[in-house]
């Protein structure tokens, strides 16, 4: 077992960048910040590829099984002898895979931002935050300890808060960042309690030990956690569900998804990084990380499955109606993650039945590339059009050919058209679903169709539809005289990612990443693939007929769906529901009464005490009448009182 300690540098380099840029950036590196952090990130990217090569091809495999290797473990905060937060580095198939994903996507985003964010006032700060995020994400991936996961989890949330709120003087951005943080925080509360349950019954917070203890049916820990129950469900179910709640929060699963669309207020590259490729899949990663334990509890898995599937469907439907291109992408992200989730949900631990797990990871991998590509492409578009709205776009394929090509590839990939990456991963998922659960399979299939529909709706609206000249007028200025398609720094990432979107599908993924680490023989069954592929193609043709050229078909369709369309357009009023709960219930019915009570009842009672004392003192001032005779009288009264008290009563 060789030494993987150098992996430590992969997260640490971005951290260093963050510290340097954060402290001195705005003074000394106002211009060079981008180059610096890109360089450092490039190093970590290279390192992670090295690591991947070493792990997958050199010494990760011991007699056919990929090992979990703890490269480093350091007790960071000890709660009680066994229960402690450890900082560490774990090396196993999924962590290495995620390393690749995160570093490379992040690198692309870094490069893209060089052009995209050029001339921003807080250029250095932007890169500092970007590095901070990359660091936190990498830390999350490499966690050995469930509490370590939680910590980086929080950090990821915070850095995404900072990045979404990057345009801090734009109220909508501020609101979005707050929303993102608070919603995920709420989810994290569940995560935290879940951790506490696990830690209490499992007697440890170390993921490896936890899995080991809670997967052996005779172990005292397992017995205690399954025997202890609350509201009818066993503590295991509670713990896992709560942990999944955390995951659902980050991965924007229904009903905790509301923050994701708003999060698009952030700079587009950020959306590409955080809200497409990395952070939002953290939830999936978390479930995958703890999958052996999840697989011990049917109930929890079922929840995962249905939440995933429902989110996938819901998001797809909403995506069909949105007009803000980034929001469309956001919902498609949500839908794709839903895919990954239910793929995990229907999976079993190990063997053939573990197909879902592998598929989900595969989809995660491919999705990262084409989705970030889509976002960067959208970024390029927005950079040119200065608008997120479809109506301000159209016919851009002439003005920005490279972007157009890349975007098309990405769309094909996500639509699952062979031979693009998406096809392979989606096929795996569908196969798994088909074997496990027909209902889910149906939903998946329908969603797939929807996906290709709205993706091409997007594509046609941007690049085809009306011609550019006419468009230019309506937009009020001429793109032709605009700064073209942007610098090479913006094109290069598109090209690279496009290449990935085409290529990564051919990786024999199942050889490397499976639930039990043993290679899994999978094959694409052409017969099986006919259904989804043909469905997608139909959907594409449909959307082509709707949106390729301006016509009224789409409006007819809208009219056809009527109320349902409006509901979908309004995102099924989930946001409104949340607003109602917070603005109409929490604030006026809990917050204000308490604040009022504090001033008037708690504080009031103390004031009352003071005032009564004062009142009494004014009330009795008559004693001191100023008449010496009364004084003598009181004197005598005192004598009498004392005598009575002590001669007769006392005794």
């Amino acid at each position: 077992m060789s030494n993987y300690l150098y992996i430590l540098w992969i997260p640490l380099l971005p951290l260093a960048t963050f510290v340097v840029l954060g402290l001195f950036g705005r003074k000394y590196f106002a211009k060079s910040a981008g180059i610096i952090s890109t360089a450092s990130l490039l190093t970590s990217t290279i390192l992670s590829f090295v690591a991947a090569k070493q792990y997958f091809f050199v010494d990760g495999k011991v007699n056919g099984i990929y090992q979990k290797i703890i490269a480093l473990k350091y007790t960071w905060l000890e709660f009680s002898p066994n229960v402690s937060i450890d900082m560490g580095v774990i090396v196993d198939p999924i962590s290495v895979m995620m390393l690749i994903v995160v570093t490379s996507v992040s690198l692309m985003v870094h490069v893209f931002s060089l052009g995209y964010m050029k001339g921003e006032e807080r250029f250095a700060t932007y890169y500092a935050f970007l590095s901070l995020f990359t660091f936190s994400m990498l830390g999350l991936i490499l966690s050995v300890n469930i509490f370590q996961v939680y910590m980086f989890w929080e950090l990821v949330g915070a850095s995404s808060f900072l990045l979404i709120g990057y345009y801090f003087n734009k109220p909508s951005a501020v609101a979005a960042s707050k929303k993102a943080f608070i919603v995920t925080r709420f989810a994290d509360l569940g995560f935290l309690i879940g951790i506490m349950i696990m830690g209490f019954y499992g007697g440890t917070l170390d993921i490896g030990l936890l899995i080991q203890k809670l997967t052996s049916v005779q172990s005292p820990e397992f017995l205690s956690i399954t025997s202890a129950s609350f509201l009818g469900a066993s503590m295991l179910t509670w713990g896992l569900t709560l942990i999944f709640m955390g995951g659902a929060g980050k991965s924007a699963m229904f009903p905790l998804h509301i923050w994701l669309p708003d999060a698009m207020e952030g700079p587009t590259p950020v959306s590409a990084l955080i809200h497409a490729a990395t952070m939002v899949v953290a939830g999936v990663y978390l479930v995958a990380r703890l999958f052996p334990i999840f697989s011990m509890d049917e109930a929890a898995l079922t929840i995962v499955t249905y939440v995933g599937a429902f989110s996938a469907l819901l998001a797809a439907i909403i995506a069909c109606t949105q007009t803000d291109i980034k929001r469309v992408l956001a919902y498609s992200t949500m839908s794709q993650i839903g895919y990954m989730m239910f793929a995990l949900g229907i999976s079993k631990n190990g063997g053939e039945a573990g197909l879902g797990y592998m598929a989900s990871m595969f989809h995660l991998f491919t999705h990262a590339f084409f989705k970030s590509l889509l976002f960067l492409g959208a970024g390029a578009v927005i950079h040119m059009v200065h608008s997120n709205e479809m109506k301000d776009m159209g016919g851009l394929r002439k003005l920005m050919p490279i972007t157009h090509a890349a975007f098309l590839i990405a769309c094909l990939a996500i639509a699952g058209i062979p031979p693009f990456a998406g096809f392979f991963s989606k096929e795996e998922i569908l196969t798994a679903a088909f074997h496990e659960n027909k209902l889910i399979y149906g939903v998946a299939l329908f969603t797939a169709a929807l996906t290709s529909f709205y993706m091409f709706r997007l594509y046609f609206n941007i690049f085809w539809s009306k011609d550019a000249a006419a468009k230019a007028h309506s937009a009020g200025h001429d793109h032709a005289h605009d700064h073209g398609e942007g610098s090479w720094t913006m094109k290069l990432p598109l090209i690279i990612l496009a290449a990935c979107a085409v290529g990564v599908g051919f990786i024999p993924f199942s050889q490397f990443i499976t639930s039990d680490g043993a290679a899994l023989e999978t094959h694409i069954d052409m017969i099986f693939s006919i259904a989804p592929v043909s469905l997608s193609i139909i959907a594409i043709l449909l959307s082509a007929s709707f949106y390729k050229n301006q016509n009224t078909k789409s409006d007819k369709a809208v009219a056809l769906f009527g109320g349902f369309y409006r509901a979908a357009y309004k995102k099924f009023y989930v946001d409104e529901l949340y607003l109602f709960i917070t603005k109409k219930i929490v604030f006026p019915l809990i917050g204000q009464p308490i604040a009022w009570a504090d001033r008037n009842i708690v504080d009031g009672s103390i004031l009352l005490l003071a005032n009564t004392t004062a009142k009494i003192s004014t009330a009795i001032k008559g004693l001191q009448s100023g008449k010496v005779q009364n004084y003598a009288l009181y004197f005598f009264g005192g004598v009498i009182a004392l005598s009575v008290l002590f001669i007769y009563i006392w005794k």
């Binding site: 801090f168 608070i182 917050g591 308490i594």
Partner: protein
């Protein structure tokens, strides 16, 4: 090292301040003095660690015990364990910061600095004393300076706040006094160590523990005796707010902890009440904060909520939770001090603390805004800052208590972190972010002294947040000593 130094240094500083003439001179003396205190505290830490490393397993180190009032068996008995030391370090750090932020205090500067130093002296004395009488003495020494600081240099309806604060704290110490009498006449000594050895009969504990705990609880903003906190903090001048929240509220928490260790049986049998009050304080404080519109009130109420964690940790009576309580005391001290410092800096420039009237300060005062955000993130318990470590330790500790009620308390308290996020982000979003109003568009950023002050506190926060094992190493052995008695009491049940 003789611990009396910790009292003598401030005393000397105070005298020098009295002798000196104008502001320039006074503040330099104050700064030098406080730095000397910081140095002394640091040196003490080193010595302490060496002693422990050398295998010295005594509960208290650097003890000196000289008879004070022989006739009444009152002794000047001082000594420290890890917990006290942590508190001392906290105090010295905040004192330096406090002196720095009040660098340009023109009004009656001599008296101002004098009182600040006096207050710190009280705190040091309190933390080092092992004799309950001395403890009580220093507890009250620390009260009157607060009254004057708020009343003279404060803002808003300062007189009322000062009066309310002084009276409530005095009521607290009156209760404490009654408790002390009870202990004294049943053990014939004030010496905590001896009392700990001989123990107190159950009846006495049951009768007098409430007095002591409530008394100190008032200092620690225990619900429902917290109402001095918002007004007091809001009216106080910046440095005084820092001292109030950073130091004197800790006197209460520390006292509660010591009392719980001194009367473990009573603490155990009353623990459910303590936990109930603490939980109420936590969630209630959080919600009350959500409704505030004045930055200082926001921070004051959040202090109530955060100090609730201290009480909760103590009430749970197990090692982890008590560790958490101690860490939370230190963390909250630093964090709130930092917060008040930032608010003070903002207020001194914009002359308003109303959230509604502020906005977009990040544009004109990036440093201060960053400080503000850091304080906020620490307060909502973000990993990497001290708040996270403290709160998580408390949670993990209290979760160890499998009883349903305690579980509920834990969950409710944990839920408060969401509310905390809400109000912190609202405050940040409205003041730091968003569009800036024109009359604030030309304001200046922090000066060197403010930067230094904030920097010191942030360093403190980061040390705990990034390397909690250090502070754990410091306090854990001492909590073990505390737990010996407590465990005995609990297992006895």
């Amino acid at each position: 090292m003789n611990l009396s130094l910790l009292i003598l240094l401030p005393l000397l500083t105070a005298l020098l301040i009295l002798l000196s003439k104008q502001l320039a001179q006074i503040r330099v003396i104050g700064l030098v003095g406080s730095l000397a205190q910081l140095g002394a505290a640091g040196w003490l830490l080193k010595l302490y660690m060496d002693q422990r490393a050398a295998g010295n397993t005594a509960t208290y180190l650097f003890e000196t015990n000289t008879s004070w009032f022989k006739a009444l068996n009152i002794n000047y008995h001082i000594g420290i364990d890890g917990i006290a030391l942590a508190m001392i370090l906290l105090t010295s750090l905040i004192v330096v910061a406090g002196i720095l932020v009040s660098w340009t205090m023109e009004k009656l500067s001599k008296e101002y600095f004098f009182l600040l130093v006096l207050l710190s002296m009280g705190a040091y004395g309190f933390f080092i004393s092992l004799d309950l009488f001395t403890l009580f003495f220093f507890l009250e020494v620390a009260v009157i300076p607060k009254f004057l600081l708020i009343g003279i240099w404060g803002s808003g309806k300062k007189e009322n706040s000062a009066m309310k604060l002084a009276l409530m704290l005095m009521a607290g110490s009156a209760l404490v006094f009654v408790g002390l009498m009870g202990i004294y006449y049943n053990t014939n000594t004030f010496d905590m160590v001896e009392i700990g050895k001989m123990g107190i009969s159950l009846g006495v504990q049951k009768f007098f523990f409430p007095f002591l705990f409530l008394g100190f609880g008032i200092f620690a903003a225990l619900f429902p005796f917290h109402t001095w906190v918002p007004d007091g903090h809001a009216s106080a001048p910046t440095a005084a707010s820092m001292f109030l929240a950073g130091i004197s509220m800790k006197l209460g928490g520390y006292g509660c902890l010591r009392m719980a260790a001194l009367m473990p049986d009573a603490a155990h049998s009353y623990s459910w009440i303590i936990i109930l009050l603490a939980t109420i304080a936590i969630i209630y404080g959080a919600f009350a904060t959500m409704m505030q519109t004045d930055l200082k009130y926001i921070n004051a109420y959040s202090s109530i909520s955060h100090c609730g964690f201290v009480i909760l940790g103590i009430g749970m009576l197990n090692k982890t939770s008590i560790n958490g309580a101690v860490i939370q005391m230190v963390s909250h001290g630093l964090m709130t001090a930092l917060f008040f410092a930032a608010i003070g800096m903002i207020y001194s420039r914009t002359h308003t603390r109303m959230v509604a009237q502020l906005g977009g300060l990040l544009k004109v005062m990036p440093f201060i805004s960053t400080v503000f955000v850091i304080a906020g993130l620490c307060s909502l318990g973000l990993p990497g800052f001290s708040g996270f470590v403290a709160e998580m330790t408390v949670f993990m500790g209290s979760w160890q208590n499998p009883d349903g009620v305690y579980r509920a308390a834990t969950v409710i308290s944990a839920a408060s972190i969401v509310v905390t996020a809400v109000y912190i982000l609202r405050a940040t979003g409205k003041t730091i972010m968003g569009p800036i109003s024109d009359e604030h568009a030309l304001l200046s950023d922090a000066t060197w002294n403010e930067k230094l002050a904030a920097g010191l506190l942030i360093i403190g926060i980061l040390i705990i947040g990034l390397a909690p094992f250090l502070i754990n190493q410091l306090i854990m052995p001492s909590t073990d000593f505390l737990m010996i008695n407590i465990d005995k009491a609990i297992t006895l049940k």
